[in-house]
């Protein structure tokens, strides 16, 4: 638990990081540094996007798998790392 906290803090301390969300495979958030409504929105939408991206990668090449997804938008960048049971979302504003 402490280690998890510590690593999360490490990520949080990076420059420009706006929020971190840990979500389980079904899209239900487990832990978040943002408010509840944003968390829930992010989790639900990103879970769908992740499914799509992963299926795309695997269909193109079945030996391949998705390791990291970065969505760059006008205001910030959303980084998603999927895993078997969970995935982690970090929102960063890079041009600060």
């Amino acid at each position: 638990m402490a280690k998890v906290e510590e690593t999360l803090k490490r990520i949080q301390s990076q420059k420009g990081v706006q929020g971190i969300i840990i979500v389980n495979a079904e899209g239900i958030p487990i832990k978040s540094t943002l408010d509840n409504s944003s968390t829930v929105q992010y989790a639900a939408h990103i879970q769908q996007l992740l499914m799509k991206a992963r299926s795309m990668v695997r269909e193109v090449d079945p030996q391949n798998d998705l390791t990291f997804l970065r969505v760059r938008s006008k205001k910030n960048e959303i980084m998603i790392a999927p895993d078997k049971d969970y995935f982690l979302i970090v929102i960063q504003n890079p041009t600060e």
Partner: protein, 885 residues
Amino acid sequence: MSSKRPKNRASNKAKEKDKKDDTDFPSPDESATESAPPDYIFPLVLTSATQELFGCRADEDVTGENPYKLLKKEDIIQDMKTRAAVSDFSPVKHTVLEYPEDELLLVFDRDFTYGQSFYLVLTAEAKENILKPSVLQGEDVEVMEQEEEEEEIMPKTPESHPWISLGSEQEIEKESFTDSRPKLRYKISRLLRDFGAPVRFSDRSALDGKEGFVECPSYQDKSFSIRELQRHTSVQATSNIKHSSTQTLWKCPKNMCTQYEPREFSADEKENHLQSENLKNFIQSVVIRFEMALQQNHIMNVFCDDWVALCEDESALTGKTETQLKEYQSFTDLHYSREKTISHLQWHPTISGVIAVAMTERMSFEERIDNSTKLMLNPSYILFWSFSDPINPQLKLESPEDVLSFQFCPSDPNIIAGGCLNGQVVLWDISAHVERLQGTRSGDKNTINTLDKSNDPPVVRYCAVSGIENGHRSPITDIQWLPETFEVSRLGSPEENTSQISAQIVTCAPDCCVMFWDLRAPHVTTQSLTETKNKKKTEEMPLENPHGVPNTFKHLNLTWKPFIRVSLPKIGTSGEYSPLKFSLRDNTVDYPIVSTADKPPPNSEREDGSGFGQLPSGKEQKPLEHISTKLYVGTEDGELVYTDWKMEKDNDSGRLYSAKPSHRFILHDTLVNTVSRSPFFRDIILTVGSWSFAIWKEGVMNGPIVMSSCSQKMYTAGQWSLSRPAVFFIGKEDGSIEVWDLLEKTHEPSQTQNISITPITCIKARSISSKQHLLAVSDGLGILHILEIPWTLRRSSSNERKNVWMYFEKEEERLLYFHQRKLQHEKEKEMEAEELRKMEPVLPQKQDEELQADALKEYEQYLSLETITLKDTNLLMGTDDASDL
């Protein structure tokens, strides 16, 4: 009739004699009026060819005496064959063919009894009769002739005789049908046993034997023809169209809604998850990727479009490389600019293309005293120039003395306030001449009457001037209108301005005063108000209006005095500062939108002179809190004083006095000739002294944030650029203008351009349109130059404001740092000194020389320390400069 009778008689006689049945043979000698030929007679026309052929030529072979000619049947047939339809005998072809005997009788009908010259007898009997009874007829003819003679002699009336049968009943009998024998009657029937017998049908072809059927074949009937007509028709096939419709059942509509909420874990579940090993492993594995990505983002912005960011400053570089200020126009007047200099100029705030210029004599104080009589005769003017006419000024404002500074009223550009050389404040009202100014703006010389455009522009006399005793005691060097956003009360506290009209002026002069003037009628007391009003009314009526001056400020004339007098006592010492220029903070206040009905109409009341008088004075207004009442004052001695204009009440005497200024900065060596605020940043002030300029930030009390090095030539004027936050213009003594660009270079101007030979007295910038920014520069010779600001100096890049702001902040930080370092340095010095002092009593036995040596050593140590620290600070200074560039 007479002819018929003999014929009848002849015929009757012939009948009686012959007693033949049906024939009635008329003799050929009878008269010619026989209408219908009998059946056996066929009249014929025989051509001469036929006549020759058959030998029956008229009057030769066949004559009246001998009219009969027997023709052989075979001959006729042969003629018909040879000549077919052309043959004369063709009509009787059938009869000839069927004629039983061989010879036919052709009779020459000399008298045309049957219509033609010949006739053919068609039957044999007739032939015989004609040939034979000619004998008989001869006798008849004789008898007839006798009888005719008798009748002609004695015509007598016919007597009724019983009907004598003349043979006509025979005809009737002949024609009538009578049964020659009784009718025979036959009855035919089938055998009874055949009825009901089985019938046997058999097929038979219809074509077998013509008796089996009756045919009605078609034949061409010549008597009846069908005319063929052609008709255009067209045929189009279409598909079957069927219309059908359906209607859905209208079900009763019902409002329905669903609401959902996202799935969430309960706190316990979350805890469970967080504790799980799975999560820990996941986090561990994933965090590395994240750190890489985050750092990447931080290092460099991958998505930055370099092309776009690059070309931003140099877009449209094509051809627009001119950086010099181009001369647009210059104005000088022969009469009024001679030997005069322009002390102040201002653009007309609303009418574009009109500038007002204040002309003053180029004389020093002593010269003025010497020439005072001459000066009295020559009034001084403010000239209005318009772009449409570079030779003649449009308007002249007369003032009692030379005007050193003036300004248009921001809420009503027809009111101009000016400060004179003798300390008076002068007001003009040019409402009457606005059309003239506006008309000339369009530059349309044809529409304006040439008579009007005489060489002498109209003179507008001042309509109010302050009392000499009440005003300043030295020339007014700066005059500014208070913006219409707020008013200042008698105590100096700002209050809201309900009328939204600027009615207050602030002036300053080197007599160490900053004065506030109010344009409105002085509000004495309620009791005497009516009296004063009445007095005013009665006074106004008989007073004539000399010089055509509008009565706008009649209430102020010669009695005007300031309502606040702010003095500037020196901090620390006695005496006062002598202000030359000042600058107020640009305060904006949000007012609720006032309906136009509340605002007093500007022009209609002006004529009564009561417009300004009727404005409510400052008693009922609400005080405003966030207005800054501080102002910067540039003094004669080169100081910048930061003071508050609010008056404080002295508790002892009850008098109002102004507080001591809070800060004072001595920077410039000689007088400060410009204190102006940046149009982009409210708290950045540019002060221009004689040899240098400085940029100050309000609130930073340590010193100027930017200070320029001393220049070789004196600076005489300064002005910020209106469109670029980092650019400002400085006018010099040698008539050139320096363009400083803070983002480009801070140690020297980015551009220098010579405009005239005499010193620049005033610079004012104005943007006419987005494409044209003009700089009005006045010089010591009285010439007004209008320069066009080139595109590079006009167009600000997108980040310029931000960059300038950052630059100022950096400078501020530097200043603070310096200050802190200085304090620290002093502290260190003190500590060192203390240590030294401490150290001294410990070693009292040392001899003087040793003491001196020690002291020297220590001193040298101290010196080295000092140089080291100074070097450090120097180096830092250097890097700051480098980063500035």
